[in-house]
């Protein structure tokens, strides 16, 4: 028991989930420190859940003002007719989240994500970024990897009725229970940069098409210096052109990235709330599974895709090994 027992209050509050994953897991959960940047609908779902589940602390980062569109997908911020200028998204979400579970320490870190140095991330066990540029994803991921301790890195993105989760647990070892023995397993995760650099031809057959489509759009936004989600129907011809170039370079059949899928990603960039719920909660769940339940199945490696159109939630292992 390590001499640290859950308090009576904790046992009562977390009763139902302890029944699923046990006391030790709950204790581990309550010692983990999490950073989340980019507070749109999907990330907000994630935050809600890890706060309810009882993580140790949560630091929020998003200096954007709480304007109409940001509010539309956010159930953490009370509606106010005179909204505007009353604090950043992170600040407003922080107030609500604190209220969700007084036992979790929730705070705000102001500033641009790209300005945070390697040392900044040392405080955390888990770093989650959402709605970020390609450059930001690569750079934050690299900073996490430079630390001597292992910091789990996640990206979560939702566009229209589909989305993607990426996970980097670096070098992850875990105990796995076989019939009557426990074996130690090792998983080697690639960084985001390494993963997306893998030639498309060498990926397993029938990889989710969404993987390729997301790479095309991400690349387009990067080249055109757009903010994430800053695309419209007018961009479609250029996005398709980029698709063709990439497919040629990777010798992949263009039909693997259908026009219709690209159109959805480019045109309606808004998060569709039920899909945000599925994605945000799936990421919270993957996080819980990894943090909490060792020895029960393998942790996710390393992409998760969901598309409401076909209804599938698929895990893809996109790594060299």
């Amino acid at each position: 028991m390590n001499g640290e027992e859950l308090t009576e209050q904790e046992t009562a509050l977390y009763d139902r989930q302890i029944r699923v994953w046990g006391v030790d897991a709950q204790r581990r959960l309550s010692k983990s420190h999490v950073f989340v940047s980019g507070l749109k609908g999907t990330a907000v779902e994630f935050c809600k859940n890890i706060v309810l589940a009882g993580v140790g602390s949560l630091v929020l980062n998003d200096d954007n003002p709480a304007t109409g569109e940001a509010l539309a997908a956010n159930f953490l911020i009370p509606f106010d007719e005179n909204m505007g200028g009353e604090g950043s998204l992170a600040e407003l979400c922080c107030d609500s989240l604190k209220d969700f579970n007084p036992m979790v320490h929730v705070s705000v870190e102001k500033g641009d994500l790209s300005t945070f140095g390697v040392d900044f991330f040392e405080k955390f066990d888990v770093v989650v970024i959402s709605c970020c540029s390609l450059a930001a994803k690569k750079s934050v991921n690299e900073k996490c990897r430079k630390l001597s301790k292992r910091v789990a890195f996640y990206t979560v993105d939702c566009r229209d009725s589909c989305g993607e989760i990426f996970v980097d647990l670096q070098n992850y070892s875990y105990a796995k229970k076989k019939v009557d023995e426990t074996v130690q397993c090792q998983l080697q995760y690639p960084s985001f940069e390494e993963a997306i650099a893998i030639p498309w031809r060498s990926l397993p057959r029938r990889v989710a098409k969404l993987y390729f489509a997301m790479r095309v759009v991400e690349r387009f936004e990067d080249v055109e210096k757009r903010r994430p989600g800053e695309t419209s129907i007018a961009d479609l011809p250029n996005v398709m052109k980029l698709r063709n170039e990439l497919c040629l370079a990777h010798s992949l059949n263009e039909s693997q990235i259908p026009d219709s899928l690209l159109e959805r990603l480019v045109v309606s960039t808004k998060e569709f709330p039920p899909v945000s719920a599925v994605l945000g909660e799936s990421s919270a769940r993957l996080f819980e599974v990894i943090k909490a339940i060792s020895g029960k199945g393998d942790p996710l490696k390393n992409f998760f895709f969901f598309d409401a159109v076909d209804g599938k939630g698929v895990i893809e292992d996109i790594s060299t090994s």
Binding site: E45, A73, N101, S268, P274, A277, E281, V309, D310, I315
Partner: protein, 642 residues
């Protein structure tokens, strides 16, 4: 987004504002739904707070439906949410009520209510999106009359039942001890004295001592409390075991239990145990705790036999000294802390007697309290999927509707697995008009037996009406004439063949629920004998879609115990989180089959303890669908590009 107009114009009914309900209401509001009605009879409890995120500590005790509405209006004040703090089975929620909705979304936690809503949706011809979760598993299904199967087209596994002798005489698992402590001992000591109770059922003829034992639970005039408590302890854990041991036959192939008496465990201690008056005075009976009184802190700890005995006495004492008024009409409630303590201690002492491993209060509470294991993320994912399916239904795009399973471990790379819905089952007595067959001894069974064992419990009817030819035999309702009520009451006590419109072999009766607008025809087949072990109801209903229970095997041979048990209470309901769990049992077999890539495995499963009659076909379909994946994707893309 073309779905916006469909969403804006929709009027939806949510049933349940609990784990799934909170998430669902939030996601509906964010997705742009404008007119949401929500029914839930429950009030908020502390253990809801970790996942039912619309609720706070300060809301404990208030209506879930009402508090959920207020919480959502805080971020979406423009929309209309109508809460009903009521039971969905109330007569106000009739077919006309259901007809006003475009779609009904279920976030329920029990089979009974699910069946009821299913019938109303069928009668009102309103599509139903149904859901359930257990731990990391969950599922969403779509039920559209005439197009897809209804909720009751497939067998719903029965709640586990145990022969009464397993509970009273030959427990082999901890759950048996819990059932004994909760349904027999607790009920005997604190519940309604007039209820039948098998606590003293013995394995052999013990007429002489059973007369005597009738009085054991009555506190004698001027009897000192210590004396009384010790007498109960010695009787249930000592003498009862002793007399069970006297039946050698029972223990031929079993380990003999050990009688436990107070003197062996506690010596003189209980007398010195101070008095309960030193516990803080409180009016709130839910705050009373034997653990606190004894200085036991951690509910995860497994207490020793001695500690369990001390908890037993302390809890008994607190009940008799502080909650005297409630005695005689208490029933077990998992949120009644003192009751949980008492049941845990009693079950553990019994377990010790039978060499069954002891359990912590935390574990015992889970077993006794019918607690559904829940994780917030699963509920939220399922709620998102419900909204996605609801939108398809509202766009009249029922062809793209899917049943979706949320899995704990990926199967064919999928954590969320969509499957094409099944067609209605032509033999389903709920959504098609296939008659049922009832085998019954028409010269011995009373109408009451048919009403209680068949109409209410198996057919799940709420307000039944039974007719035979043109004659009305039985009816339930608020607006009945007095003489009719008397007439029906008299009918209940009559044997079937002696009713005014005699029910005999070869006749057909009609059973109808006016609220559910469900009519079932039942063909009667006379049969003389029934097997008490295998057919404890004394009658058998065919064509009814509930899978047989699994558990009875280990005691099937102990027929020597039967003489003493009364047929009216020959089985005891065991509290497991059956509804949500059991559906998922079916699911898991299906999925396992796919994951292992060998369909054979399933037949092993269906030949095993739990017969799942139609599952083979279903699992195959799931497997085929999963293999199909390329085709499915192309299909959907075509649709999308249009």
């Amino acid at each position: 987004m073309e779905h916006l107009s469909a969403i804006k114009g929709a009027k939806v009914l949510m049933v349940g504002a609990g784990g799934i309900g909170c998430e669902l209401l939030k996601t509906l509001a964010l997705s742009g739904f404008q007119d949401i009605h929500i029914i839930d009879m429950d009030t908020i409890e502390v253990s809801n707070l970790n996942r039912q995120f619309l609720f706070r500590q300060s809301h404990v005790g208030q209506s879930k439906a009402k508090v959920a509405r207020e919480a959502v209006l805080r971020f979406r004040p423009q929309i209309s949410i109508t809460p009903y703090h009521a039971n969905v089975k109330d007569s106000d929620f009739n077919v006309d009520f259901f007809k006003q909705f475009s779609v009904v979304l279920n976030g329920l936690d029990n089979l009974d209510a699910r069946r009821h809503v299913n019938r109303l949706c069928l009668a009102a011809d309103v599509p139903l999106v149904e859901s359930g979760t257990t731990g990391f598993l969950g599922q969403v299904t779509v039920h559209i009359k005439g197009r897809t199967e209804c909720y009751e087209c497939q067998p719903k596994p029965a709640p586990k039942t145990y022969p009464v002798c397993t509970i009273t005489s030959t427990p082999s698992k901890f759950v048996h001890c819990i059932v004994w402590a909760k349904d027999l001992l607790f009920a005997k000591l604190f519940g309604d004295k007039n209820q039948d109770n098998d606590l003293n059922v013995r394995s052999n003829d013990s007429a002489s001592s059973s007369d005597h034992s009738e009085d054991v639970f009555e506190r004698k005039k001027d009897e000192d409390f210590e004396q009384y408590a010790k007498r109960i302890y010695d009787h249930v854990f000592g003498h009862n075991i002793e007399s069970a041991l006297s039946n050698e036959e029972t223990w031929k192939n079993r380990n003999k239990p050990r009688p436990i008496y107070v003197k062996d465990v506690l010596s003189d201690e209980i007398q010195q145990n101070g008095n309960v008056d030193k516990t803080p005075a409180t009016d709130n009976s839910s705050m009373l705790s034997a653990m606190a009184y004894l200085g036991l802190k951690n509910p995860q700890d497994i207490w020793s036999l001695k500690e369990n005995s001390r908890v037993f006495f302390a809890a008994l004492k607190l009940f008799f000294s502080k909650r005297q008024k409630e005695i005689g009409n208490l029933s077990f409630d998992k949120d009644d802390h003192l009751a949980v303590e008492f049941v845990t201690a009693a079950a553990n002492i019994r377990a010790a007697s039978f060499g069954i491993p002891l359990h912590s209060l935390f574990e015992a509470k889970g077993i006794a309290g019918n607690i559904v294991h829940a994780v917030a993320t699963t509920n939220a994912i399922i709620a998102g999927l419900i909204v996605i399916e609801a939108i398809k239904v509202l766009q009249n795009d029922s062809k793209s509707c899917r049943m979706t399973y949320c899995l704990e471990h990926p199967s064919r790379k999928m954590l969320l697995m969509p499957v094409e819905p099944f067609e209605p089952n032509k033999a389903c007595y709920v959504c098609s008009e296939t008659p049922l067959v009832l085998e019954v001894n028409t010269h011995r069974a009373k109408l009451r037996d048919v009403v209680e064992k068949i109409v209410t419990s198996k057919l799940g009817m709420n307000l039944p009406l039974i007719t035979h030819g043109s004659g009305l035999l039985y009816e339930v309702g608020d607006d009945l004439e007095e003489d009719m009520v008397a007439n029906y009451a008299a009918n209940l006590e009559k044997v079937l063949s002696e009713l005014p419109y005699a029910i005999t072999g070869g006749t057909m009766i009609q059973v109808e629920d006016l609220q559910q607008e469900l009519v079932c025809n039942i063909n009667i087949k006379h049969r003389e004998e029934f097997d008490e072990e295998k057919e404890p109801d004394g009658m058998v209903l065919h064509g009814w879609t509930q899978a047989p229970a699994a558990e009875n095997k280990d005691t099937a041979t102990s027929s020597s115990n039967n003489g003493a048990s009364t047929s009216s209470t020959s089985t005891t309901l065991v509290p497991t989180d059956m509804e949500e769990d059991d559906e998922l049992t079916i699911l898991e077999t299906g999925i396992e089959t796919i994951a292992a890539g060998k369909k054979r495995k399933l037949s092993d499963v269906s030949n095993s303890e739990t017969p799942i009659p139609t599952d083979d076909k279903r699992a195959k379909k799931i497997a085929e669908h999963a293999e199909d994946d390329v085709v499915v994707m192309l299909d959907d893309e075509k649709k999308n590009s249009r």
